[in-house]
Symmetry: C2
C-alpha cells in the first residue's frame, strides 16, 4: 500500500523540522529560498497537496468539529470535552479529538491531519511547547483556508479567532478573598511560572485579593512550579518544603493536585484543616469533591466552557458571512464551591 505523504514524512526525508516544511509550503519568508524551493519540489514530485483543505471545503461540509487538547489525563479537559460533545450532539455535529501531548510538532501534525477534509473547524487549547515557541503558523494557516478556530483555556493573542476563557483572575480573587473573610491572614499560593497564562492570571488574582484587604504581599509565600499538568516528584518536594517552612494559615493552589499534596503534608505535620489551615484550590474536580476533608474549590465550569466553545464555532460555521464576522472573547464565570477545607463565614 502507498503511504500518504504527510508533513512529517517530508520533514523526515529532508532532515528538517515539521514547521519548516509547513512554512516552506506556504512560502513563508522565515525559510530561506533554497530550502523552500527544495521542499516545494519534493512535495510536487510526490504529489503532496497542501491546499486540499480549501478544496474539500468547497465540495462538502463534514459536520464534524476537530478538538485538539494538550493532554487528556486531566479532569478539567475531560469536562470541557463533555460539554463540546453535548452541544455538538444537540446540533447534529460530530466531534473528533486529538492530543498534542503538550508538544508543538504533534499539534502541527494533528491540525494537518484533521484539516485534511475530516473537519469543518477547530476547538483547541494550545500546547505548552507552542506557548514557549510562540509559533502559531499552523493556526494561521487553517484560519486562512477558511476553517474557523475557537481557542479555550490556554489561548494566545494575535490570532484571528474566537476565544473562550475562564475568568482566572476573578476566580482566584474569589477563592483568596473567601479565605481572608473567614480569618486567614498568612496565605500562601502554589502556582505556576508566569509563562503559563492561567498560572500568571491566578497569581494576579491572589495578589489583588490581598491588596483589597490591605495585606502586604510576600514573595516567600508564592511558590511557582514548572509543571501544572501533574504532580512530579520535584513538585512534591518543593510543596513539602514550602508548606513546612512557612507557618501558613491558608493555602491557595492553582490546581487540585497541589492542594491534595499540601493537605497530605499538613496532615503529617499534625495541622487540622480548616481549624489551623484553610485550603482552597482552583478546579472543581473529582479530587476536591471526594477528598476527606473535601476541598473548597473555584469551579471552572468546564462543561459550560465546552458548550460555549462548540456553540460559537457552530454559529460561525453556519453563518454566510463567517469570514468577515468579528472575533469575540467569551468569559465563563467561576463560582466558589464551599466544602470542608475552609471555615464557615460568620454572616
Amino acid at each position: 500500500m502507498k503511504r500518504k505523504l504527510t508533513l512529517k514524512l517530508i520533514a523526515k526525508e529532508l532532515g528538517v523540522s515539521i514547521s519548516t516544511v509547513s512554512k516552506a509550503l506556504r512560502d513563508s519568508p522565515e525559510i530561506s529560498e533554497e530550502t523552500r524551493e527544495k521542499i516545494k519540489a519534493y512535495a510536487k514530485l510526490y504529489n503532496y497537496k497542501p491546499n486540499n483543505i480549501a478544496l474539500s471545503l468547497k465540495n462538502r461540509r463534514t459536520n464534524t468539529i476537530g478538538v485538539i487538547i494538550p493532554q487528556i489525563v486531566h479532569h478539567f479537559f475531560t469536562t470541557v470535552i463533555s460539554g463540546i460533545e453535548q452541544e455538538a450532539r444537540d446540533r447534529n455535529y460530530n466531534v473528533i479529538i486529538c492530543l498534542s501531548n503538550n508538544g508543538f510538532d504533534k499539534e502541527v501534525e494533528n491540525m494537518e491531519l484533521l484539516a485534511n477534509g475530516s473537519t469543518d473547524g477547530f476547538i483547541l487549547s494550545i500546547s505548552k511547547e507552542t506557548m514557549l515557541k510562540e509559533d502559531y503558523h499552523h493556526l494561521n494557516e487553517v484560519i486562512e483556508q477558511g476553517m474557523p478556530v475557537v481557542m479555550f483555556d490556554r489561548v494566545v493573542e494575535g490570532i484571528s479567532c474566537d476565544r473562550v476563557l475562564i475568568d482566572d483572575k476573578a476566580g482566584a480573587k474569589k477563592g483568596v478573598s473567601h479565605m481572608i473573610r473567614t480569618g486567614c491572614r498568612k496565605i500562601g499560593i502554589i502556582t505556576s511560572e508566569d509563562y503559563i497564562s492561567v498560572g500568571r492570571l491566578r497569581t494576579e488574582g491572589y495578589l489583588d485579593a490581598l491588596d483589597d484587604y490591605g495585606i502586604a504581599a510576600n514573595d516567600n509565600l508564592i511558590l511557582k512550579l514548572d509543571n501544572i499538568d501533574d504532580l512530579t516528584e520535584e513538585s512534591k518536594k518543593r510543596i513539602e518544603d514550602f508548606v513546612t517552612k512557612n507557618d501558613l494559615d491558608g493555602i491557595f493552589t492553582v490546581n487540585e493536585f497541589f492542594a491534595v499534596h499540601a493537605t497530605r503534608v499538613l496532615t503529617k505535620l499534625g495541622k487540622r484543616i480548616p481549624e489551623d489551615v484553610s485550603i482552597v484550590c482552583f478546579t472543581d474536580g473529582q479530587l476536591s469533591e471526594n477528598m476527606i476533608p473535601s476541598l473548597t474549590a473555584v469551579s471552572q465550569h468546564g462543561e459550560e466552557m465546552g458548550r460555549k466553545a462548540a456553540s460559537i464555532l457552530i454559529e460561525k460555521l453556519e453563518r454566510e458571512d463567517s469570514e468577515t464576522a468579528p472575533y469575540d472573547t467569551a468569559y465563563i464565570d467561576t463560582s466558589l464551591v464551599e466544602r470542608e477545607s475552609t471555615r464557615k463565614l460568620n454572616r
Copy 2:
C-alpha cells in the same frame, strides 16, 4: 454548502433508526425487503456510498488509528489513551478519538465517520447500550471492509477481532485474598449488575477468593449497582445503606468511586480504616492514590493495555496477510498496590 449525506441524515429523513439504514445498505435479511429497497433507492438518489471504505483503503494508507471509547470522564480510559498515544507515536501513527457516550447510535455514527477514509483500523471499548442490544453489525461491517479492529476492556464474543483484556477475575481474587490474609472475614463487594462483563468477572473473582479460604458466600454482602461509570445519587444511597446495615470488616469495590463513598460512610460511622474495616478497590487511579487514607488498589495498568492494543493493531496493519491472520486475546496482568486502607501482612 452541500451537506454530506450520512447514515444519520438518511435515518432522520426516512424515519427509521441508524442501524436500520446501516443494515439495509448491506442487504441484511433482518430488514424487510421493502424497507431495504426504499433506503437503497434514497442512498442512490443522493449518491451515498456505503463502500467508500474499501475504496479509500485501496488508494492510500492514512497511518491513523481510530479510537472509540464509551466516555472520557473516567481516569482508566484516559490512561489507556495515553498508552495508545505513546505506542502510536513511537511507530509513526496518528490517533483520532471519538466518544460514544455509552450510546449505540453514537457508536455506529463514529465508526462511519472514522471508517470514511480517516483511519486504517480501530481500537474500541464498546458502549453499554451496544452490550445490551447485542447488535454488532457496525463492527462486522468495518472488519469485512478490511479494517482490523482491536477491542479492549469491554469486549464481546463472536466478532473477528483481536482483544486486549484485563484479567478481571484474577485481579479481584488478588484483592480479596489480600484482605482475607490480613484478617478480614466478613467481606462485602460493591459491584455491577452481571450484564456488564467487568462487573460480573470481578464478582466471580471475589467468590473464588472466598471459596479458596473456605468462607461461605452470602448474597446479602453483594451489592450490584446499575451504573459503574460514575457515582449517582441513587448509588450513593444504596452504598450508604449497604455499609451501614452490614457489619463488614472488609469492602471490595469494582471501581474507585464506590470505594471513596464507602470510605466516607465508614468515617461518618466512626469506623477506623484499616483497623476496623479494610478497603480494596479495582482501578488504581488518582483517587486511590490521593485519598487520605490512600486506598489499596488492583492496578489495571491502563497504559500498558493501550500500548498493547495499539501494538497489536499496528502489527496487523503492517502484515501482508492480515486478512487471514488468526485472532488473539491478550491478557494484561493486574497487580496489587498496597496502601493505607489495608493492614500489613505478617510475613
